[in-house]
Amino acid sequence: MSKRLMEGSEAMVEAAITSGCRFFAGYPMTPFTEVLENFAKKLPEVGGVCVNAESELEAVGMAWGALATGARAATGSTGQGLSLMQESFSEITLAELPLVAFNMARGQGDYFQSTRGGGHGDYRHIVLAPMDIAEAVELTQLAFHLADTWRNPVLVQGDYLLAHTAESVDVSPADFGPVPDKDWAVDGSGGGSGASKVISPLGIGKTNTPGPGIEGQMQAVADKLTRIAAAEPRAESGFLDDAEHVVVAFGTPAKFVRYAVRRLRDKGLRVGYVRPITLWPFPADAVAAAAAGKQSVLVFELNAGQMIDDVRLAVLGSAPVRFIGGISTDHSGFGVGALLDVEVIAGRIEEAVQAGVAA
Protein backbone atom coordinates (compact mmCIF):
# COMPACT_ATOMS: atom_id res chain seq x y z
CA MET A 1 0.00 0.00 0.00
CA SER A 2 1.38 3.40 -0.90
CA LYS A 3 1.12 6.46 1.25
CA ARG A 4 -2.03 8.55 1.24
CA LEU A 5 -2.62 11.98 2.70
CA MET A 6 -4.94 11.54 5.64
CA GLU A 7 -5.94 13.45 8.70
CA GLY A 8 -4.96 11.80 11.94
CA SER A 9 -8.52 10.91 12.84
CA GLU A 10 -9.03 9.18 9.54
CA ALA A 11 -5.71 7.35 9.73
CA MET A 12 -6.40 6.08 13.23
CA VAL A 13 -9.80 4.82 12.19
CA GLU A 14 -8.32 3.02 9.19
CA ALA A 15 -5.67 1.57 11.45
CA ALA A 16 -8.37 0.35 13.83
CA ILE A 17 -10.27 -1.26 11.02
CA THR A 18 -7.20 -2.98 9.61
CA SER A 19 -6.73 -4.33 13.13
CA GLY A 20 -10.12 -5.95 12.98
CA CYS A 21 -12.10 -3.41 14.96
CA ARG A 22 -15.72 -3.99 14.03
CA PHE A 23 -17.65 -1.94 16.56
CA PHE A 24 -17.44 1.65 17.61
CA ALA A 25 -19.72 3.89 19.60
CA GLY A 26 -19.12 7.53 20.45
CA TYR A 27 -20.65 10.93 20.98
CA PRO A 28 -19.31 14.05 19.24
CA MET A 29 -16.92 16.37 21.01
CA THR A 30 -14.13 18.50 19.64
CA PRO A 31 -11.47 17.37 18.75
CA PHE A 32 -12.68 13.77 18.87
CA THR A 33 -15.65 14.30 16.56
CA GLU A 34 -13.84 13.34 13.37
CA VAL A 35 -12.79 10.00 14.81
CA LEU A 36 -16.46 9.23 15.29
CA GLU A 37 -17.32 10.54 11.83
CA ASN A 38 -14.71 8.36 10.20
CA PHE A 39 -15.81 5.26 12.05
CA ALA A 40 -19.40 6.01 11.07
CA LYS A 41 -18.34 6.19 7.45
CA LYS A 42 -15.87 3.34 7.26
CA LEU A 43 -17.15 0.63 9.59
CA PRO A 44 -20.28 -0.21 7.59
CA GLU A 45 -18.08 -0.63 4.51
CA VAL A 46 -16.43 -3.62 6.16
CA GLY A 47 -19.56 -5.05 7.74
CA GLY A 48 -18.91 -3.41 11.09
CA VAL A 49 -21.18 -1.24 13.17
CA CYS A 50 -20.77 2.31 14.40
CA VAL A 51 -23.43 3.65 16.70
CA ASN A 52 -23.84 7.37 17.21
CA ALA A 53 -24.47 6.90 20.88
CA GLU A 54 -26.73 9.34 22.67
CA SER A 55 -24.06 10.18 25.23
CA GLU A 56 -20.66 9.01 26.41
CA LEU A 57 -22.25 6.77 29.03
CA GLU A 58 -24.18 4.93 26.38
CA ALA A 59 -21.12 4.77 24.16
CA VAL A 60 -18.93 2.96 26.63
CA GLY A 61 -21.79 0.65 27.59
CA MET A 62 -22.29 -0.34 23.98
CA ALA A 63 -18.59 -1.02 23.54
CA TRP A 64 -18.72 -3.15 26.69
CA GLY A 65 -21.49 -5.25 25.18
CA ALA A 66 -19.72 -5.66 21.86
CA LEU A 67 -16.48 -6.66 23.59
CA ALA A 68 -18.30 -9.26 25.65
CA THR A 69 -19.15 -11.11 22.46
CA GLY A 70 -15.47 -11.30 21.57
CA ALA A 71 -15.53 -8.58 18.93
CA ARG A 72 -12.77 -6.02 18.70
CA ALA A 73 -14.51 -2.85 19.74
CA ALA A 74 -13.64 0.68 20.74
CA THR A 75 -14.99 3.95 22.02
CA GLY A 76 -13.54 7.37 22.63
CA SER A 77 -14.08 11.03 23.34
CA THR A 78 -12.04 13.88 24.70
CA GLY A 79 -10.85 13.73 28.29
CA GLN A 80 -14.02 15.49 29.36
CA GLY A 81 -16.25 12.89 27.79
CA LEU A 82 -14.03 10.14 29.14
CA SER A 83 -14.60 11.53 32.62
CA LEU A 84 -18.17 10.34 32.22
CA MET A 85 -16.93 6.86 31.38
CA GLN A 86 -14.79 6.40 34.47
CA GLU A 87 -17.14 4.11 36.34
CA SER A 88 -17.27 1.84 33.32
CA PHE A 89 -13.53 2.14 32.70
CA SER A 90 -12.78 0.90 36.17
CA GLU A 91 -15.21 -1.98 36.10
CA ILE A 92 -14.52 -3.03 32.52
CA THR A 93 -10.90 -3.45 33.57
CA LEU A 94 -11.98 -5.69 36.42
CA ALA A 95 -14.17 -7.59 33.96
CA GLU A 96 -11.01 -8.00 31.84
CA LEU A 97 -12.54 -6.83 28.59
CA PRO A 98 -10.11 -5.66 25.90
CA LEU A 99 -11.47 -2.20 25.27
CA VAL A 100 -9.61 0.27 23.11
CA ALA A 101 -10.45 3.89 23.85
CA PHE A 102 -9.36 7.03 22.05
CA ASN A 103 -8.80 10.18 24.02
CA MET A 104 -8.49 13.04 21.59
CA ALA A 105 -7.61 15.33 24.43
CA ARG A 106 -7.60 19.07 24.78
CA GLY A 107 -3.99 19.68 25.73
CA GLN A 108 -2.23 17.26 28.06
CA GLY A 109 -4.14 17.82 31.28
CA ASP A 110 -5.57 14.30 31.21
CA TYR A 111 -2.28 12.57 32.04
CA PHE A 112 -3.37 11.69 35.56
CA GLN A 113 -6.82 10.60 34.45
CA SER A 114 -5.32 8.33 31.84
CA THR A 115 -2.45 6.87 33.80
CA ARG A 116 -3.84 6.65 37.32
CA GLY A 117 -7.26 5.48 36.33
CA GLY A 118 -9.75 8.26 36.85
CA GLY A 119 -12.28 5.85 38.24
CA HIS A 120 -12.49 4.11 41.55
CA GLY A 121 -10.36 1.23 42.62
CA ASP A 122 -7.11 -0.36 41.54
CA TYR A 123 -6.84 -0.48 37.83
CA ARG A 124 -4.70 0.83 35.04
CA HIS A 125 -5.10 1.17 31.34
CA ILE A 126 -2.18 0.78 29.01
CA VAL A 127 -1.77 4.28 27.58
CA LEU A 128 -0.15 4.83 24.20
CA ALA A 129 0.77 8.38 23.23
CA PRO A 130 1.72 8.81 19.58
CA MET A 131 3.56 11.94 18.55
CA ASP A 132 2.40 11.99 14.95
CA ILE A 133 0.12 10.26 12.53
CA ALA A 134 2.49 7.59 11.34
CA GLU A 135 3.01 6.55 14.92
CA ALA A 136 -0.70 6.90 15.66
CA VAL A 137 -1.38 4.29 13.01
CA GLU A 138 1.18 1.94 14.47
CA LEU A 139 0.05 2.44 18.06
CA THR A 140 -3.62 2.10 17.21
CA GLN A 141 -2.86 -1.25 15.70
CA LEU A 142 -0.73 -2.16 18.67
CA ALA A 143 -3.53 -1.07 20.99
CA PHE A 144 -5.89 -3.75 19.74
CA HIS A 145 -3.15 -6.31 19.99
CA LEU A 146 -2.19 -5.40 23.53
CA ALA A 147 -5.81 -5.21 24.64
CA ASP A 148 -6.42 -8.76 23.48
CA THR A 149 -3.07 -10.03 24.70
CA TRP A 150 -3.64 -8.78 28.21
CA ARG A 151 -7.43 -8.60 28.32
CA ASN A 152 -6.98 -5.07 29.56
CA PRO A 153 -8.17 -1.74 28.18
CA VAL A 154 -5.74 0.31 26.15
CA LEU A 155 -6.06 4.04 25.73
CA VAL A 156 -4.72 5.82 22.67
CA GLN A 157 -4.02 9.36 23.76
CA GLY A 158 -3.99 12.05 21.09
CA ASP A 159 -4.92 15.69 20.87
CA TYR A 160 -6.25 18.38 18.61
CA LEU A 161 -3.12 18.43 16.46
CA LEU A 162 -3.04 14.69 16.01
CA ALA A 163 -6.71 14.63 15.03
CA HIS A 164 -6.52 17.47 12.55
CA THR A 165 -3.10 17.30 11.02
CA ALA A 166 -2.86 15.41 7.74
CA GLU A 167 0.17 13.36 6.81
CA SER A 168 1.04 11.04 4.01
CA VAL A 169 0.83 7.66 5.66
CA ASP A 170 0.66 4.02 4.87
CA VAL A 171 -2.05 2.10 6.71
CA SER A 172 -1.30 -1.55 6.06
CA PRO A 173 -2.41 -4.30 8.39
CA ALA A 174 0.19 -5.05 11.04
CA ASP A 175 0.93 -8.49 12.37
CA PHE A 176 1.95 -8.60 16.00
CA GLY A 177 1.56 -12.33 16.25
CA PRO A 178 -1.19 -14.40 17.84
CA VAL A 179 -3.35 -13.38 20.77
CA PRO A 180 -5.01 -15.75 23.23
CA ASP A 181 -8.29 -17.35 22.26
CA LYS A 182 -11.38 -15.54 23.46
CA ASP A 183 -12.85 -18.56 25.13
CA TRP A 184 -14.34 -16.27 27.74
CA ALA A 185 -16.60 -14.49 25.23
CA VAL A 186 -20.34 -15.07 25.23
CA ASP A 187 -22.26 -16.05 22.13
CA GLY A 188 -25.39 -17.31 23.79
CA SER A 189 -24.66 -20.95 23.13
CA GLY A 190 -23.80 -21.85 26.70
CA GLY A 191 -27.33 -21.78 28.03
CA GLY A 192 -28.91 -24.90 29.45
CA SER A 193 -25.69 -26.87 29.16
CA GLY A 194 -24.58 -26.21 32.70
CA ALA A 195 -21.58 -24.49 31.16
CA SER A 196 -23.00 -21.08 30.50
CA LYS A 197 -20.72 -18.12 31.14
CA VAL A 198 -20.96 -14.83 32.89
CA ILE A 199 -18.73 -11.87 32.16
CA SER A 200 -18.59 -9.82 35.30
CA PRO A 201 -16.29 -7.44 37.13
CA LEU A 202 -17.33 -9.04 40.39
CA GLY A 203 -15.35 -12.23 40.10
CA ILE A 204 -18.48 -14.30 40.19
CA GLY A 205 -18.90 -17.48 38.22
CA LYS A 206 -21.83 -19.80 38.03
CA THR A 207 -22.97 -22.32 40.61
CA ASN A 208 -21.33 -25.01 38.49
CA THR A 209 -18.14 -23.10 37.80
CA PRO A 210 -17.53 -20.69 40.66
CA GLY A 211 -15.40 -17.62 40.05
CA PRO A 212 -12.52 -16.32 42.12
CA GLY A 213 -14.74 -13.95 44.10
CA ILE A 214 -14.33 -10.22 44.29
CA GLU A 215 -11.08 -10.21 46.24
CA GLY A 216 -9.66 -12.92 44.02
CA GLN A 217 -10.62 -11.04 40.90
CA MET A 218 -9.16 -7.78 42.15
CA GLN A 219 -5.96 -9.52 43.11
CA ALA A 220 -5.72 -11.35 39.79
CA VAL A 221 -6.08 -8.10 37.90
CA ALA A 222 -3.54 -6.39 40.14
CA ASP A 223 -1.09 -9.21 39.50
CA LYS A 224 -1.68 -8.99 35.79
CA LEU A 225 -1.08 -5.26 35.89
CA THR A 226 2.24 -5.89 37.61
CA ARG A 227 3.21 -8.15 34.72
CA ILE A 228 2.13 -5.56 32.18
CA ALA A 229 4.14 -2.95 34.01
CA ALA A 230 7.21 -5.08 33.57
CA ALA A 231 6.59 -6.09 29.97
CA GLU A 232 5.21 -3.14 28.10
CA PRO A 233 7.03 0.13 28.77
CA ARG A 234 8.12 1.82 25.55
CA ALA A 235 10.15 4.94 24.98
CA GLU A 236 12.17 6.66 22.31
CA SER A 237 15.21 8.76 23.00
CA GLY A 238 17.84 10.69 21.13
CA PHE A 239 21.06 12.69 21.48
CA LEU A 240 21.71 11.15 24.87
CA ASP A 241 25.30 10.05 24.36
CA ASP A 242 27.18 13.10 25.47
CA ALA A 243 24.16 15.01 26.73
CA GLU A 244 24.40 17.00 29.94
CA HIS A 245 20.67 17.69 30.03
CA VAL A 246 17.72 15.64 29.00
CA VAL A 247 14.21 16.75 28.17
CA VAL A 248 11.20 14.48 28.76
CA ALA A 249 8.01 14.99 26.79
CA PHE A 250 5.20 12.89 25.31
CA GLY A 251 2.63 13.02 22.54
CA THR A 252 2.51 15.74 19.91
CA PRO A 253 4.44 18.20 22.07
CA ALA A 254 7.29 15.69 22.12
CA LYS A 255 7.62 16.20 18.40
CA PHE A 256 8.11 19.90 19.06
CA VAL A 257 10.62 19.08 21.78
CA ARG A 258 12.56 16.70 19.56
CA TYR A 259 12.74 19.36 16.86
CA ALA A 260 13.83 21.95 19.40
CA VAL A 261 16.51 19.64 20.80
CA ARG A 262 17.85 19.07 17.31
CA ARG A 263 18.08 22.83 16.75
CA LEU A 264 19.82 23.31 20.08
CA ARG A 265 22.28 20.55 19.19
CA ASP A 266 23.01 22.51 16.02
CA LYS A 267 23.77 25.43 18.30
CA GLY A 268 26.11 23.23 20.32
CA LEU A 269 23.97 22.65 23.41
CA ARG A 270 24.57 19.19 24.90
CA VAL A 271 20.95 18.23 25.33
CA GLY A 272 19.08 15.03 24.57
CA TYR A 273 15.54 13.85 24.94
CA VAL A 274 13.53 10.87 26.03
CA ARG A 275 9.94 10.38 24.97
CA PRO A 276 7.64 7.99 26.82
CA ILE A 277 5.52 6.22 24.22
CA THR A 278 3.62 4.28 26.85
CA LEU A 279 2.44 6.64 29.55
CA TRP A 280 1.40 3.61 31.54
CA PRO A 281 3.39 1.56 32.08
CA PHE A 282 5.70 4.53 32.39
CA PRO A 283 9.13 3.73 30.94
CA ALA A 284 10.83 4.42 34.24
CA ASP A 285 13.95 2.47 33.35
CA ALA A 286 14.45 4.34 30.10
CA VAL A 287 13.94 7.66 31.82
CA ALA A 288 16.22 6.70 34.69
CA ALA A 289 18.88 5.58 32.23
CA ALA A 290 18.53 8.79 30.25
CA ALA A 291 18.76 10.84 33.43
CA ALA A 292 21.76 9.03 34.83
CA GLY A 293 24.62 11.44 35.36
CA LYS A 294 22.83 14.39 33.78
CA GLN A 295 23.02 17.89 35.18
CA SER A 296 19.28 18.27 34.84
CA VAL A 297 16.14 16.57 33.68
CA LEU A 298 13.63 18.94 32.11
CA VAL A 299 10.00 18.01 31.80
CA PHE A 300 7.87 19.59 29.12
CA GLU A 301 4.15 18.87 29.18
CA LEU A 302 1.15 21.01 28.35
CA ASN A 303 -0.40 21.03 31.79
CA ALA A 304 0.32 22.18 35.32
CA GLY A 305 2.75 19.32 35.89
CA GLN A 306 1.56 15.72 35.96
CA MET A 307 3.98 13.40 34.20
CA ILE A 308 6.68 15.08 36.22
CA ASP A 309 5.58 12.89 39.13
CA ASP A 310 6.44 9.81 37.11
CA VAL A 311 9.72 11.33 36.02
CA ARG A 312 10.60 12.07 39.63
CA LEU A 313 9.60 8.53 40.60
CA ALA A 314 11.90 7.21 37.90
CA VAL A 315 14.83 9.49 38.69
CA LEU A 316 14.30 9.29 42.47
CA GLY A 317 16.45 12.27 43.31
CA SER A 318 19.45 11.17 41.31
CA ALA A 319 19.28 14.31 39.15
CA PRO A 320 17.43 17.61 39.54
CA VAL A 321 14.05 17.52 37.78
CA ARG A 322 12.70 20.83 36.47
CA PHE A 323 9.35 21.67 34.97
CA ILE A 324 9.49 23.69 31.77
CA GLY A 325 5.97 23.03 30.51
CA GLY A 326 2.73 24.69 31.48
CA ILE A 327 -0.91 25.26 30.78
CA SER A 328 -1.38 26.60 27.30
CA THR A 329 -4.44 26.84 25.16
CA ASP A 330 -6.13 29.10 22.70
CA HIS A 331 -9.40 30.78 23.61
CA SER A 332 -11.42 27.74 22.50
CA GLY A 333 -9.85 25.58 25.16
CA PHE A 334 -8.88 22.97 22.59
CA GLY A 335 -5.34 22.92 23.85
CA VAL A 336 -3.35 24.47 21.03
CA GLY A 337 -1.68 27.38 22.79
CA ALA A 338 1.29 29.63 22.57
CA LEU A 339 3.64 27.11 24.19
CA LEU A 340 3.34 24.83 21.18
CA ASP A 341 6.17 26.59 19.42
CA VAL A 342 9.63 25.21 18.80
CA GLU A 343 11.20 28.60 19.47
CA VAL A 344 9.49 28.98 22.80
CA ILE A 345 10.38 25.47 23.85
CA ALA A 346 14.00 25.83 22.74
CA GLY A 347 14.11 29.06 24.69
CA ARG A 348 12.83 27.37 27.83
CA ILE A 349 15.35 24.59 27.51
CA GLU A 350 18.19 27.04 27.08
CA GLU A 351 17.00 29.09 30.00
CA ALA A 352 16.68 26.07 32.26
CA VAL A 353 20.10 24.84 31.23
CA GLN A 354 21.63 28.22 31.97
CA ALA A 355 19.78 28.53 35.27
CA GLY A 356 21.03 25.06 36.17
CA VAL A 357 24.60 25.98 35.30
CA ALA A 358 24.30 29.25 37.19
CA ALA A 359 22.80 27.59 40.27
Partner: protein, 252 residues
Protein backbone atom coordinates in the same frame (compact mmCIF):
# COMPACT_ATOMS: atom_id res chain seq x y z
CA UNK B 1 -55.99 -42.87 50.91
CA UNK B 2 -55.24 -45.59 48.40
CA UNK B 3 -51.89 -47.25 48.71
CA UNK B 4 -51.40 -48.43 45.10
CA UNK B 5 -48.37 -47.02 43.27
CA UNK B 6 -50.22 -44.72 40.89
CA UNK B 7 -48.63 -43.39 37.69
CA UNK B 8 -47.37 -39.80 38.06
CA UNK B 9 -46.60 -37.33 35.28
CA UNK B 10 -44.44 -34.36 36.17
CA UNK B 11 -46.15 -31.11 35.25
CA UNK B 12 -43.75 -28.76 36.92
CA UNK B 13 -40.03 -29.21 37.55
CA UNK B 14 -38.67 -27.84 40.73
CA UNK B 15 -36.10 -25.79 38.85
CA UNK B 16 -36.50 -24.27 35.42
CA UNK B 17 -34.09 -25.99 33.05
CA UNK B 18 -32.12 -22.74 32.81
CA UNK B 19 -31.45 -22.45 36.54
CA UNK B 20 -28.39 -24.11 38.04
CA UNK B 21 -29.59 -23.83 41.62
CA UNK B 22 -32.68 -22.70 43.43
CA UNK B 23 -30.77 -21.41 46.43
CA UNK B 24 -30.59 -17.68 46.81
CA UNK B 25 -30.29 -14.99 49.46
CA UNK B 26 -33.34 -13.00 48.46
CA UNK B 27 -35.84 -12.30 51.19
CA UNK B 28 -38.84 -14.44 52.02
CA UNK B 29 -41.78 -13.43 49.88
CA UNK B 30 -39.71 -11.57 47.31
CA UNK B 31 -41.38 -11.44 43.92
CA UNK B 32 -38.18 -11.34 41.90
CA UNK B 33 -37.39 -15.06 41.76
CA UNK B 34 -40.92 -15.68 40.53
CA UNK B 35 -40.45 -13.26 37.65
CA UNK B 36 -37.10 -14.82 36.84
CA UNK B 37 -38.73 -18.21 36.60
CA UNK B 38 -41.17 -16.80 34.05
CA UNK B 39 -38.30 -15.43 32.01
CA UNK B 40 -36.33 -18.66 32.08
CA UNK B 41 -39.26 -20.87 31.24
CA UNK B 42 -40.12 -18.64 28.31
CA UNK B 43 -36.61 -18.81 26.90
CA UNK B 44 -36.60 -22.59 27.17
CA UNK B 45 -40.05 -22.95 25.68
CA UNK B 46 -39.14 -20.76 22.72
CA UNK B 47 -36.10 -22.92 22.08
CA UNK B 48 -33.75 -20.07 22.84
CA UNK B 49 -31.71 -21.81 25.53
CA UNK B 50 -28.59 -22.02 23.40
CA UNK B 51 -28.97 -18.72 21.62
CA UNK B 52 -29.62 -16.19 24.34
CA UNK B 53 -27.42 -13.59 25.95
CA UNK B 54 -28.67 -11.75 28.99
CA UNK B 55 -27.42 -8.52 30.46
CA UNK B 56 -28.00 -8.12 34.18
CA UNK B 57 -28.35 -4.83 36.05
CA UNK B 58 -27.61 -4.18 39.70
CA UNK B 59 -30.23 -4.88 42.32
CA UNK B 60 -31.31 -7.82 44.41
CA UNK B 61 -31.86 -9.91 41.26
CA UNK B 62 -28.14 -9.60 40.49
CA UNK B 63 -27.63 -12.54 42.84
CA UNK B 64 -29.15 -14.68 40.10
CA UNK B 65 -26.25 -14.00 37.74
CA UNK B 66 -24.55 -16.96 39.42
CA UNK B 67 -27.38 -19.38 38.97
CA UNK B 68 -29.01 -18.57 35.63
CA UNK B 69 -27.83 -21.15 33.16
CA UNK B 70 -27.71 -18.60 30.35
CA UNK B 71 -24.76 -16.70 28.91
CA UNK B 72 -24.68 -13.40 30.75
CA UNK B 73 -22.95 -10.08 30.87
CA UNK B 74 -23.05 -8.26 34.19
CA UNK B 75 -23.63 -4.56 33.59
CA UNK B 76 -23.24 -1.64 35.94
CA UNK B 77 -26.23 -0.10 37.67
CA UNK B 78 -28.40 1.50 35.00
CA UNK B 79 -26.26 0.60 32.00
CA UNK B 80 -27.73 -2.69 30.83
CA UNK B 81 -29.64 -1.39 27.77
CA UNK B 82 -26.48 0.02 26.19
CA UNK B 83 -24.54 -3.11 26.92
CA UNK B 84 -27.38 -5.11 25.38
CA UNK B 85 -27.18 -2.85 22.33
CA UNK B 86 -23.51 -3.67 21.87
CA UNK B 87 -24.19 -7.37 22.33
CA UNK B 88 -27.09 -7.39 19.88
CA UNK B 89 -25.23 -5.48 17.20
CA UNK B 90 -22.47 -8.09 17.23
CA UNK B 91 -24.81 -11.07 17.66
CA UNK B 92 -27.92 -10.00 15.77
CA UNK B 93 -29.38 -13.49 15.57
CA UNK B 94 -29.35 -14.13 19.26
CA UNK B 95 -32.07 -13.31 21.75
CA UNK B 96 -30.71 -10.49 23.89
CA UNK B 97 -32.41 -9.36 27.06
CA UNK B 98 -31.74 -7.17 30.04
CA UNK B 99 -32.82 -7.94 33.58
CA UNK B 100 -33.21 -4.75 35.58
CA UNK B 101 -35.00 -3.32 38.57
CA UNK B 102 -36.87 -0.08 38.77
CA UNK B 103 -33.99 1.61 40.54
CA UNK B 104 -31.67 0.40 37.84
CA UNK B 105 -33.86 1.15 34.85
CA UNK B 106 -35.97 4.10 35.91
CA UNK B 107 -33.66 5.97 38.25
CA UNK B 108 -30.04 5.53 37.31
CA UNK B 109 -30.63 4.27 33.79
CA UNK B 110 -33.74 6.08 32.60
CA UNK B 111 -31.89 7.65 29.72
CA UNK B 112 -30.39 4.36 28.59
CA UNK B 113 -33.67 2.55 28.24
CA UNK B 114 -35.42 5.46 26.57
CA UNK B 115 -32.72 5.93 23.97
CA UNK B 116 -32.52 2.21 23.37
CA UNK B 117 -36.26 2.12 22.80
CA UNK B 118 -36.25 5.22 20.61
CA UNK B 119 -33.48 3.70 18.54
CA UNK B 120 -35.77 0.72 18.03
CA UNK B 121 -33.01 -1.55 19.25
CA UNK B 122 -34.11 -5.12 18.81
CA UNK B 123 -33.70 -6.29 22.40
CA UNK B 124 -36.06 -7.20 25.22
CA UNK B 125 -35.78 -5.38 28.51
CA UNK B 126 -37.24 -7.15 31.51
CA UNK B 127 -38.06 -4.82 34.38
CA UNK B 128 -38.67 -6.09 37.89
CA UNK B 129 -40.62 -3.19 39.33
CA UNK B 130 -41.10 -3.17 43.07
CA UNK B 131 -41.04 0.58 43.53
CA UNK B 132 -37.99 0.48 45.79
CA UNK B 133 -34.26 0.11 45.79
CA UNK B 134 -34.53 -3.26 47.46
CA UNK B 135 -30.82 -3.95 47.58
CA UNK B 136 -29.75 -0.82 49.42
CA UNK B 137 -32.50 -1.03 51.98
CA UNK B 138 -35.84 -0.17 50.45
CA UNK B 139 -35.65 3.51 49.50
CA UNK B 140 -38.19 5.20 47.24
CA UNK B 141 -37.51 5.03 43.50
CA UNK B 142 -38.84 6.90 40.51
CA UNK B 143 -41.63 4.34 40.17
CA UNK B 144 -42.83 4.36 43.79
CA UNK B 145 -46.43 5.47 43.66
CA UNK B 146 -48.06 8.17 45.72
CA UNK B 147 -48.90 6.80 49.12
CA UNK B 148 -46.45 3.93 48.85
CA UNK B 149 -44.46 3.05 51.94
CA UNK B 150 -40.69 2.83 51.50
CA UNK B 151 -37.73 3.37 53.78
CA UNK B 152 -37.61 7.01 52.67
CA UNK B 153 -41.37 7.50 52.66
CA UNK B 154 -42.51 5.62 55.74
CA UNK B 155 -45.82 7.47 55.79
CA UNK B 156 -46.32 7.07 52.06
CA UNK B 157 -44.91 8.89 49.06
CA UNK B 158 -46.14 12.45 48.96
CA UNK B 159 -46.24 14.35 45.65
CA UNK B 160 -45.49 17.70 47.21
CA UNK B 161 -42.38 16.47 48.95
CA UNK B 162 -41.18 13.57 46.81
CA UNK B 163 -42.50 14.36 43.36
CA UNK B 164 -44.53 12.07 41.13
CA UNK B 165 -43.81 8.55 39.96
CA UNK B 166 -42.70 7.77 36.42
CA UNK B 167 -44.99 5.23 34.81
CA UNK B 168 -42.20 3.81 32.75
CA UNK B 169 -44.15 1.31 30.67
CA UNK B 170 -46.54 3.98 29.49
CA UNK B 171 -43.68 6.32 28.74
CA UNK B 172 -41.83 3.73 26.69
CA UNK B 173 -45.01 2.88 24.85
CA UNK B 174 -45.00 6.46 23.52
CA UNK B 175 -41.82 5.88 21.59
CA UNK B 176 -42.06 4.92 17.97
CA UNK B 177 -39.12 2.57 18.24
CA UNK B 178 -40.96 0.41 20.77
CA UNK B 179 -42.64 -2.63 19.26
CA UNK B 180 -44.00 -4.46 22.26
CA UNK B 181 -44.50 -3.10 25.76
CA UNK B 182 -46.47 -4.93 28.41
CA UNK B 183 -46.87 -4.89 32.14
CA UNK B 184 -47.58 -7.98 34.20
CA UNK B 185 -47.10 -8.94 37.80
CA UNK B 186 -46.46 -11.90 40.05
CA UNK B 187 -49.24 -10.98 42.41
CA UNK B 188 -50.90 -14.37 42.12
CA UNK B 189 -50.89 -17.46 39.96
CA UNK B 190 -53.20 -15.93 37.38
CA UNK B 191 -51.01 -12.91 37.00
CA UNK B 192 -48.00 -15.17 36.64
CA UNK B 193 -49.61 -17.05 33.79
CA UNK B 194 -50.72 -13.84 32.13
CA UNK B 195 -47.27 -12.32 32.48
CA UNK B 196 -45.70 -15.37 30.98
CA UNK B 197 -47.74 -14.89 27.81
CA UNK B 198 -46.44 -11.33 27.63
CA UNK B 199 -42.88 -12.54 28.05
CA UNK B 200 -43.39 -14.94 25.21
CA UNK B 201 -44.77 -12.26 22.92
CA UNK B 202 -41.87 -9.96 23.70
CA UNK B 203 -39.27 -12.52 22.71
CA UNK B 204 -41.29 -13.58 19.68
CA UNK B 205 -41.33 -9.94 18.64
CA UNK B 206 -37.59 -9.70 19.09
CA UNK B 207 -36.88 -12.87 17.15
CA UNK B 208 -39.08 -11.53 14.35
CA UNK B 209 -36.93 -8.40 14.28
CA UNK B 210 -39.71 -6.21 15.55
CA UNK B 211 -37.65 -3.66 17.42
CA UNK B 212 -37.55 -2.76 21.07
CA UNK B 213 -39.64 -4.73 23.53
CA UNK B 214 -40.08 -4.48 27.24
CA UNK B 215 -41.89 -6.57 29.82
CA UNK B 216 -42.42 -4.93 33.14
CA UNK B 217 -43.20 -7.25 36.02
CA UNK B 218 -44.51 -5.87 39.28
CA UNK B 219 -42.80 -7.79 42.07
CA UNK B 220 -43.32 -7.83 45.80
CA UNK B 221 -40.68 -6.41 48.11
CA UNK B 222 -42.10 -7.05 51.56
CA UNK B 223 -38.81 -5.94 53.09
CA UNK B 224 -38.74 -2.53 51.46
CA UNK B 225 -42.46 -2.02 51.96
CA UNK B 226 -42.35 -3.07 55.61
CA UNK B 227 -45.23 -5.52 55.25
CA UNK B 228 -45.49 -9.19 56.24
CA UNK B 229 -44.66 -11.49 53.35
CA UNK B 230 -48.17 -12.81 53.05
CA UNK B 231 -49.53 -9.29 52.66
CA UNK B 232 -47.10 -8.42 49.88
CA UNK B 233 -49.38 -9.26 46.96
CA UNK B 234 -52.31 -7.41 48.47
CA UNK B 235 -50.27 -4.35 49.28
CA UNK B 236 -48.89 -4.36 45.78
CA UNK B 237 -52.35 -4.50 44.29
CA UNK B 238 -53.44 -1.56 46.41
CA UNK B 239 -50.44 0.62 45.64
CA UNK B 240 -48.14 -0.06 42.68
CA UNK B 241 -50.82 -1.97 40.80
CA UNK B 242 -53.18 1.00 40.85
CA UNK B 243 -50.80 3.22 38.90
CA UNK B 244 -48.69 0.77 36.96
CA UNK B 245 -51.69 -1.05 35.56
CA UNK B 246 -51.32 -4.54 34.12
CA UNK B 247 -51.85 -4.98 30.43
CA UNK B 248 -50.33 -4.74 27.00
CA UNK B 249 -49.35 -1.12 26.48
CA UNK B 250 -48.10 -1.37 22.95
CA UNK B 251 -48.15 -4.03 20.29
CA UNK B 252 -47.04 -3.67 16.72
Amino acid sequence: MTTDEPVLHPVGEKLPSLLQSGEHDLCPGCGEPVAIRILLETLAELGLSTSTIGVVGIGCYTAFARTLDVDLVQALHGRAPSVATGVKRMQPDKAVFTLQGDGDMVNEGLQEVLHTAARGENVTCVLLNNGVFGETGGHMTATSVLGQRTKTSLTGRDAEYHGYPIVIGDLLAQLEGAAYIARGSVQNAGAVAHTKRMMRKAFESQMAGGGFSMVEVLTMCPTGWFVPTAEGPGYMGDTLGQVHVMGELKTR
